[in-house]
Amino acid sequence: MLNRSQPPVITPLSIAPFPGIITKELSNGLQIHFLPWGIEPILEIKWIFNAGSAHDGQLPFADFTAKMLKEGTRSYSSDTLADFLDFYGAYLEVTSGMEIASVSLVTLEKHLEKVFPLLDEIIFNPTFPEPEFNLMKERVLQQMLVDEQKTPWHARRIFLSKILGGGHPYGKVAEKEDIRALNIEGIKEFHKNHYRAGNGFLVVSGHFDINKLMLLFESSFGSLKDNEPALISNAAKHRETFLPERIHHTLENKEQTSIRIGHPSIKRNHPDFMPLQLANLILGGYFGSRLMKNIREEKGYTYGIGSFVSGFLYAGYFGIATDVGKEYVENTLKETLYEMGRLIESGVEFEELETAKNYYLGQMTANRETPFQMGDHLVTALVNQLPLSSLDQEFEKIKYTNQSELMRLYSTYVKPDNLLIVTCGS
């Protein structure tokens, strides 16, 4: 007779090692990291530049420069460029984050040679046409009118601007007047200084012939001369000035209140960063977390609550985010502080830790599936100056994190008496 109350035995989890990375240099020293991965005939080329928002001065040039690269080049208008990409089913996207901007080309392997020249076009020959620039500014401003009605939007912006202390390069939020003040000259200047061969590197992941690719890269980019050094962001020297405080932003007639709480934490390449992710998982990082169990599953105050530790090259922060029925705000805060305190005082049960560890290790494997994900892991390691061996050691580190290690992590990195608390709602 089948015993359905007896779970099947859990054997040690299957884990895959990170595949070998091949690093090559062009004749001018530009580094390219190749990561062969996957069976589908596709690949992604990412060109990473030290050109994120932490390289900005007062105005958000980094973000808009990234947005404007595809708006027209020496040989193509933005329309022709878009048609050309669509015709080959390729994607060329530019995104900017805190430290870096990333130009990504995704294509079927069979169309690589056709779309490859577009990299050179948008990175080194953009024209930044004035009408497209003005329309883009206008659209961003109009979108803000809609976003301003959303409680999570305000709560998140206030949280970001305060979490590392006012004025931190990682805590920039653009106001409408900042966007209005942007000009083409500033965009061109930012582009000239940041999108240079000597200010970045490349990652290629997916299905490809490495020799063929090296020939393409060498002929297009091998002769680019750049004697300037790579740039270091403003976050490198900035001192954090965090102060705990409670801030409420009123938006009328809202059914729910958005809550964001947190405090500064460690940077991405701190040796405790990965184990702290595990500790955070237990507090509020997955469906089985203490916060989800208490505030969603026991009390039903919210559709979801989550905590996170975000780490960058020079700083990091810890946060908790949720949207709750407006009548539940104080109880949610009370229960959240209670869960933080309980972990610091009593740590976690053995079973609870085993569950979280296995879940976490399982997730790490699951997140190493597509060439796009693999490329991202490699970029994260390189940008945060982590050794490539860390990509495999992360598994070991999580596996050997025990209960007493977690006690140390909670008492060192969770500070319920030192919180920024932001609420936005009626």
Partner: protein, 428 residues
């Protein structure tokens, strides 16, 4: 072995195909297996052929509420999530108007944990009153978060009943109103379970680092003993043909006016649906999309605008939605929009080739994940043919320019349209 059917779908050289093997157990449960050994991981997807369209008009939102209750413990297992997480797994689910889909992913050597958990909740739920109370509250917060607390969140709660007069698609999966969720009883829950959660009303898809033999061995152990419940085949009312344009205006606390338009179109598996998907792409996707180029960029009437078909099993909606720019007139926007939408003859052969190429590349990108492959098979099977997912690109490729234009002309007509003007309160 309790196997009654053996049909192996032939594999082809084409790398974008999702190969699969198929069996049906004696209790009616269909099993599809796609083997892929890239990472040591397996996805299990169970689709139940029940969605919001199966609900009683006075008990709407129930299929979705029920999806939440499926995580509240089953007859032999008090809690679903923890044992799965302990096996290194994760899971989620979603409900549409047509189906409810549960999916999970586990390390390759923990597949049995997935079968143990999923078979017990197919066998019988715990039906705990506490779980019902909490999930009612969670779903009510979800209702508020997604539909009430954000600008334009309730637009489709208004557009659906304008579009559908008799078919149960006239309500959203979240339900018509919060009261329906508040009133749900444990009796309703049991009723729903025994009516729809039955092996012969489900398909189990396994994709990843495993084999057909392993899956069948586990299925025989865990799923084969579950009794068939003889789910009646539901008959849905057929929507009467629309003969004149319908409009509605609502006033809400929003900063900018918004525009929602739907046209009645055929079901997901029809050729017309595919032709309209191609036209929607030309209208709406990318920088050179007709709607963006004319209405956003050139005339500066809209902040954003898009067009898309709903993937519904029964005859569905082709919708266009837009946020109007500050100070611009929504009716002027509409007049300009009509000129574009009713001009499908302007589509050129090269537009069609471009869109087909793009769809082909997109389908390859999507198939880089086990979950997308499993879900593609599961939904195809619920539509009546597990091979459908592998035929879609051929259908797209077989649509000619003439067919695209004539289909757009046939369905995108003013008399076949429903328009919702969603205006800021100060315009009232």
């Amino acid at each position: 072995m309790e196997l009654t059917e053996d049909k192996t779908i032939q594999s082809e050289q084409n790398k974008t195909r999702i190969d699969c093997k198929q069996r049906i157990l004696e209790n009616g449960l269909k099993i599809l297996v796609h083997e892929s050994h890239q990472i040591p991981r397996v996805v299990v997807d169970i689709i139940y052929k029940v969605g919001a369209r199966n609900e009683h008009p006075d008990k709407t939102g129930f299929a979705h509420l029920f999806e939440h209750l499926m995580f509240g413990g089953s007859v032999n297992i008090p809690e679903y999530d923890t044992p799965l997480q302990k096996a290194g797994g994760e899971n989620n689910a979603f409900t549409t108007n047509d189906i409810t889909n549960y999916y999970l992913s586990v390390p390759a050597n923990q597949l049995e944990t997935a079968f143990w958990l999923e078979s017990d909740r197919m066998l019988e739920l715990a039906f705990s009153p506490k779980s019902l109370d909490v999930q009612k509250s969670v779903v009510i917060e979800e209702f508020k978060q997604r539909y009430l607390n954000q600008p334009y969140g309730d637009a489709y709660l208004e557009l659906r009943p304008l579009h559908y007069k008799t078919h149960p698609y006239r309500w959203s999966t979240i339900g018509k109103e919060i009261a329906h969720i508040e009133q749900a009883t444990l009796e309703d829950v049991k009723d729903f379970f025994y009516s729809y959660y039955s092996p012969e009303n489900a398909t189990l898809v396994v994709s990843g680092d495993t084999t057909m033999e392993k899956v069948l061995e586990l299925a025989d152990k865990w799923f084969a003993p579950i009794p068939r419940r003889n789910v009646p085949k539901p008959i849905f009312p057929v929507e009467p043909e629309q003969t004149e344009a319908r409009t509605k205006t609502v006033f809400r606390k929003v900063p900018l006016p918004a525009f929602y338009r739907s046209y009645a179109i055929p079901e997901r598996t029809s050729r017309a649906y595919f032709a309209l998907e191609l036209f929607a792409e030309i209208l709406s996707t990318g920088k050179n999309a007709w709607l963006y180029k004319k209405l956003v960029k050139e005339l500066e009437l809209a902040q954003k605008v898009s067009a898309f078909g709903w993937h519904s099993f029964d005859p569905g909606m082709f919708t266009i939605e837009a946020v109007i720019r500050e100070g611009k007139d929504i009716y002027q926007f509409e007049a300009e929009l009509d000129k574009i939408v009713y001009n499908s003859v302007a589509v050129k052969e090269e537009d069609l080739i471009r869109v087909k190429n793009k769809f082909e590349a997109d389908s390859v990108y999507q198939r880089t994940t086990l979950l997308n492959k499993a879900m593609g098979l599961a939904i195809s099977d619920a539509l009546g043919d597990p091979e459908f997912v592998n035929k879609e690109m051929d259908i797209f490729n077989s649509i000619t320019l003439d067919e695209l234009i004539s289909t757009a002309e046939k369905y995108l007509r003013p008399e076949n349209s429903n328009t919702l003007y969603y205006l800021p309160e100060e315009h009232a």
